[in-house]
């Protein structure tokens, strides 16, 4: 999985009628549900502003807050670890797994664990690893990456799922998967076994509260509660920008996050975890760990414009609003993160040579920015990334155009020559080396080069003067 192939993947996806039909219906569904709830959300702009302020305040004091978080988490009995990069995160968590002799590990949906490619390291440490969010479970069986932040298996039909359960789990599936609740119950039973047998649960974290050292997890299924209640050991892997200062800040975010993600006033379950089980308690982990992941984020913090991408609390609304995502889906990005915010994060966290095309896969329409409850200005960040990629060395055609534009006589001469030679633009766009310009004129009749406006205006003025 790599973002290097982004342009080809986009072209392929655009021609995949089945994928496009699924993307169309699912993104519309998410948008409609969300918009109905947002219309009913009293004082929504104030709540959005408070949520944004909480995130901004956290970023502006990030190092101090992380130290406070560490202190309070450890006071509550949580062991805090710091991972500079993906390899370090994998090593830390694999060591924890080996240290507790974990044979069965259950996982809650965690994009950051996909970002660091955690699962193979846990398998290498000698454990069976089970994704337990139903959508993640399905794509794990299919050996595919998730295709959407909120609904990872949205690209799979019920028949696809039935086939997976049959072929990969050996389950008896009736009716070729027609009965979706039935399929879901099969998954519940299969995963219930794993929860009860699991030695360790690994989750992400929606946020962490510095004031109390707590980790907060939001879900609808209950698999995160299961993963943090049944096994002896719990590991929360969190990208370090997700800390907030106070419980008030956390409440501000919780007011907005479920509404923006799925159009719910509140998700089915929110867990506020502050350390392992207390003496005398009979459920909950005996050992709690929090792994703070950097993996390029501290570098992003140094850019005052680009650091806005770190405000994101992963609601997924920008994905559903993006015309490009609506057409190509999540896999095309070749990264744990897709859609507008995914394009930004992928470009910021991965090596530049792998992500050169990503910021250009955007029409700058601004639908993402208008939808984002935290006010992230995705188009502005996209342009800043383009500036970095361009690096003062613009592509040849662009440089030629800019040169001409700075020299009006040369510009007029060039246009005049083109108009003399090829006024209907039949030939010029099809010259070699002009990339997709040829495809452009395949699907669109090119504009004509006409008598320039300036000349026509002058003629009009003259004839008016004569009249």
């Amino acid at each position: 999985m790599t973002p290097r192939a982004f342009r080809e993947s986009c072209a392929k996806a655009a021609h995949d009628a089945r994928l496009r039909a699924i993307l169309d219906s699912s993104t519309r569904h998410f948008q409609e549900t969300r918009s109905a709830e947002m219309d009913a959300f009293a004082d929504r702009e104030i709540h959005f502003a408070r949520a944004r302020a909480a995130r901004l305040a956290a970023l502006s004091r990030l190092p101090a807050l992380l130290e406070t978080l560490e202190r309070n988490a450890e006071a509550a009995g949580t062991k805090v670890h710091w991972a500079r990069d993906a390899a370090e995160a994998r090593r830390i968590i694999a060591d924890i797994a080996r240290g507790c002799g974990a044979k069965v590990i259950v996982k809650g949906k965690s994009m950051v664990s996909a970002e660091v490619d955690l699962d193979p390291a846990l398998v290498a440490a000698g454990a069976e690893v089970w994704e337990t969010d139903l959508g993640q479970f399905i794509v794990q069986l299919a050996d595919e990456p998730p295709s959407h932040i909120i609904a990872p298996s949205i690209h799979k039909s019920r028949q696809d799922v039935a086939a997976l359960f049959r072929d990969k789990l050996g389950l008896a599936v009736e009716d070729d998967g027609e009965d979706i609740p039935g399929l879901t119950m099969l998954a519940r039973r299969a995963l219930r076994e794993k929860f009860l047998a699991a030695d360790m649960g690994v989750t992400g974290a929606n946020m962490a509260v510095a004031e109390t050292g707590s980790v907060i997890l939001v879900e609808n299924e209950g698999n995160i509660r299961m993963s943090t209640t049944c096994p002896r050991v719990h590991v929360a892997l969190m990208s370090l920008e997700k800390v907030v200062a106070t419980l008030e800040d956390a409440a501000s975010l919780l007011r907005v996050l479920p509404r923006s993600a799925t159009g719910q006033k509140m998700a089915s379950y929110v867990s506020v975890l502050s350390g392992p089980r207390r003496p005398g308690e009979t459920d909950g982990p005996e050992e709690a760990h929090l792994v703070l992941l950097d993996n390029g984020r501290s570098k992003v913090m140094a850019d005052p414009v680009l650091r806005e991408a770190l405000l994101c609390f992963r609601c997924g609304a920008c994905l559903n609003s993006c015309p490009v995502y609506q057409t190509v889906g999540g896999h095309a990005y070749g990264s744990a993160y897709s859609g507008p915010i995914g394009a930004l994060l992928t470009s910021l966290l991965l090596p530049p040579e792998d992500t050169r095309d990503i910021p250009y896969g955007c029409t700058l329409c601004g639908a993402c920015k208008r939808t984002c409850p935290l006010g992230i200005d995705h188009p502005r960040l996209m342009l800043r990334l383009r500036e970095r990629i361009c690096g003062g060395r613009p592509p040849l055609l662009g440089a030629a155009h800019s040169f001409l534009a700075r020299h009006p006589l040369a510009y007029r001469f060039a246009v005049g020559a083109a108009r003399a030679v090829d006024p209907h633009l039949d030939l010029l766009p099809r010259l070699p080396g002009l990339g997709g310009l040829s495809e452009f004129v395949d699907s669109r009749h090119p504009p004509e080069l006409k008598t320039p406006f300036t000349k026509q205006l002058a003629r009009r003025k003259k004839s008016k003067e004569r009249a």
């Binding site: 298996s153 609740p181 399929l183 299924e221 049944c230 509140m266 089915s268 009979t282 140094a302």
Partner: protein, 219 residues
Amino acid sequence: MSRDAARTDILFALHQGLSDAPPEAVAVPDKPASIPVGPDAWERLNAFYESLGVRLRLAKTPAEAATLVAETAREHKAASYVRWNDLPDGLAAACDAALAGLERLDAAKRADLARADMGITGAQAAFLDSGSIALSAAVDRQRAASLLPPMHVCLLPRKVLLPDISALPELLRGCRDAKGLPSCLNLVTGPSSTADIELMLVRGVHGPGVLEVIGLDWE
């Protein structure tokens, strides 16, 4: 030591980035006023519960509450249950009496929780703007009692009803003791659900598929 090196590197890089380009100050708008808890509190709660597929019934006395619990068990053909010891107003004993025909299992034992048909808990709070019920873990308040059994019956006292989630910080701080915050606070808003297969809503995927709330409508 590697851990200290990673910690130092990360904190240093963050300090560096922020001091090179300090962020601007942010104005925080005031929190909008909460709609206070009024005489229509139960109606407000019920408005959410209908769309979430949760049934809310009110009891005027502990005896009535226990009767409703027994009715629920009968309707769902429950043969066994677990319950918190920490239930208000003598309801632990009252429920045991009303559920005499069922097998009472031990909420402290994983195997029992896993086979119980019904889990009975109290509640530390409920937020009226979303229908969320807060359950904080403690020695006599097992997390898994509201998670493992397929049906969760929640005994919700009127006096713990709160306006909205902005009350969460105070609630948590109120739960604090010498050792700190509770190890776990769960907000439960409806049954477990998913729509991961073709966006079709299914209830009861990992957590309980049925949530029954019995409002304890007395002082």
